[in-house]
């Protein structure tokens, strides 16, 4: 399975991709830490389990989905592909 890719590029510079293995971003413990600690989302264990399951499913259905794309006015680009 292809991994999650984060691309960061600044105007006039060569962008570089950060590859995140699929087993890492579908890891329940990491989802819990990221969502509940970093984003203060207070997801329940049931919701975390469902997100991990759905992420795996979405990865198969929407392969190379552009999850997030941010383009700033000064030319910085951040893209996250699932």
């Amino acid at each position: 399975m292809i991994d999650m890719k984060i691309i960061i590029r600044k105007r006039g510079h060569i962008g570089f991709p950060i590859i995140i293995p699929h087993w890492l971003f579908t890891n329940k413990s990491l989802i819990r830490k990221f969502c509940n600690n970093q984003l203060e989302m207070n997801l329940t264990e049931e919701e975390i389990k469902k997100i991990a399951k759905d992420l795996k499913k979405c990865k198969k259905v929407f392969n190379k989905l552009e999850l997030i794309s941010v383009e700033s006015a000064d030319g910085e680009i951040v893209k996250i592909y699932l």
Binding site: C35, L39, M41, N42, L43, T44, E47, K50, I51, D54, L55, K57, C58, V61, F62, K64, L65, E66, L67, I68, S69, V70, E71, S72, A73
Partner: protein
């Protein structure tokens, strides 16, 4: 969004649970021709585009890669797409020229909205989407509404659009 015609075609065919042979038979072409379309080696005749769009319950615009469904449509129950194959798309364009695109698979969006954590903020100006009733939007989607669901312009000139496709 799949960028090539072939990828979009393949996705639509799989959504309809059809084989390349079945598509070929319906369109009166060879299965090899369908295989070539899906691999972006060749493209269907322009006269077939409408027939393909109707077969897959989509639009010629979508087949040709137009990103957003500009209009809002109510799809009859028997023609609705599997919600697990749908995307909730949020587009934010700020007055400063920043552009944010978020494509969330509907299955995941439902979990986030149900957990009452749909407080998305963008940038320093904190364009908050918490005032948008996402539960109401999900209810509309469940009833078969697709396309552009929300378009709003803030007092600062920022534009927020929400689509489901």
């Amino acid at each position: 969004m799949n960028n090539s015609f072939g990828k979009r075609f393949t996705e639509l065919r799989k959504n309809k649970k059809m084989t390349q042979e079945e598509v070929a038979e319906k369109l009166g072409v060879s299965p090899q021709a369908v295989s070539k379309w899906e691999n972006d080696i060749s493209y269907p005749d322009v006269t077939l585009l409408l027939e393909i769009a109707q077969m897959f319950d989509t639009t010629v615009d979508f087949l040709l890669g137009k990103e957003n469904v500009a209009e809002t449509l109510l799809i009859p129950e028997e023609k609705r797409k599997d919600p697990n194959l749908m995307l909730l798309k949020i587009r934010v364009s700020t007055q400063d020229g920043d552009k944010v695109k978020v494509n969330i698979p509907l299955a995941i969006a439902k979990i986030l909205i149900a957990s009452d954590n749909s407080n998305f903020t963008f940038g320093d100006k904190s364009i908050s989407l918490k005032d948008i009733d996402f539960e109401q939007l999900l209810s509309m989607i469940d009833q078969g509404v697709i396309g552009k669901l929300v378009e709003l312009e803030t007092a600062e000139g920022d534009i927020v659009e929400i689509y489901v496709e």
